[in-house]
């Protein structure tokens, strides 16, 4: 087993190798990392020198000096950048949510318990049915939910497809609130 003072022994711990004060960078890198063949894939821990040597797809390395950098910059100053690739932006369908604020619910506790015991989808189905009876083309009510849970203050959230102005929704107020028996 080689100790940290032996410069020829492989060592995975980087601290002692730096502490020995070796100035040769290649020697230092060899001691800091364990060289593992990865079939050309870049992996964590691979050094830049290793990648340049083994990567067949990479071009030759350019060592820029101030003079060469200035000439390279001068050649690309008028270069036209290619068109940016089109990003496929996926937009979600818009929704409109309206909350029925119930201020604690109905005065009668038994009636309030019956209201809150109803499933949200059952309320929505009945409201949709009532809207379809009232008008030929009702606003697209898609879902509904109790605001938090069954033991909340009893607020109910209606969800509509698309952007629907509130003044249009308020035209259906009597239908949307009918199942809450005037407590919303």
């Amino acid at each position: 087993m080689a100790g940290p003072s032996d410069p020829t022994a492989p060592n995975k711990v980087s601290g002692p190798a730096i502490a020995t004060g070796m100035n040769d960078p290649s020697h230092r890198i060899e001691q800091e990392f364990t060289t593992v063949k990865r079939c050309g894939r870049k992996k964590k821990g691979a050094t830049r020198e290793d990648l340049n040597a083994s990567g067949p797809s990479q071009g030759p390395q350019l060592n820029l000096t101030p003079a060469s950098y200035a000439s390279a910059a001068a050649t690309v100053v008028n270069a036209q950048q290619g068109p940016t690739p089109l990003r496929t932006t996926h937009t979600l369908p818009p929704l409109t949510e309206v909350t029925v604020i119930r201020h604690g619910g109905h005065i009668d506790n038994q009636i309030e318990l019956n209201i809150r015991a109803r499933a949200a989808d059952a309320i929505v189905q009945e409201v949709r049915l009532n809207m379809a009876k009232a008008v030929s083309r009702p606003i697209p009510l898609r879902a509904g939910r109790w605001s938090v849970n069954a033991r909340s203050k009893g607020n109910f959230v209606y969800s509509f497809n698309g952007h629907i102005p509130f003044d249009i929704i308020s035209l259906y107020e009597h239908i949307l609130l009918s199942l809450f028996l005037g407590s919303g």
Partner: protein, 116 residues
């Protein structure tokens, strides 16, 4: 493959009249989803389980639509979707290959005829 099969969880089984939603009601409701109004259904919506075996208020349905460029399935999988007034969860149907087991050596992946 030009069509996509989807699985929808959490669909209410019955309406307010306590009648189980049939194939027509399912098709009408599913066609109201985004992008499915004019889509061709390779398999119309149906309950995943036999209706007589559904004991809960919510269950799963499955259907297949013609979706060559996957726009319909992407929209449904990423967006919020609701059926019968309830938000539902949609996922792609994953076909599980039939399990082949050798009756001679009990190994998986081949039948008896190819066992050594």
């Amino acid at each position: 493959m030009g069509w996509t099969r989807l699985l929808v969880h959490g669909v209410p089984v019955t309406g307010n009249d306590d009648i189980v939603f049939g194939p027509d009601a399912l098709l009408t409701e599913v066609q109201m989803l985004q992008g499915l109004k004019k889509a061709y259904f390779a398999m119309p919506p149906r309950w995943l389980k036999p209706v007589e075996h559904i004991a809960l208020s919510y269950s799963s349905i499955t259907f297949a639509v013609s979706d060559p460029d996957a726009t319909i399935s992407n929209t449904l999988l990423r967006g919020r979707t609701a059926l019968f007034g309830k938000e539902v969860t949609i996922q792609k149907w994953i076909d599980k290959p039939a399990l082949v087991q050798c009756s001679k050596c009990h190994a998986l992946g081949h039948s008896r005829t190819s066992a050594h």
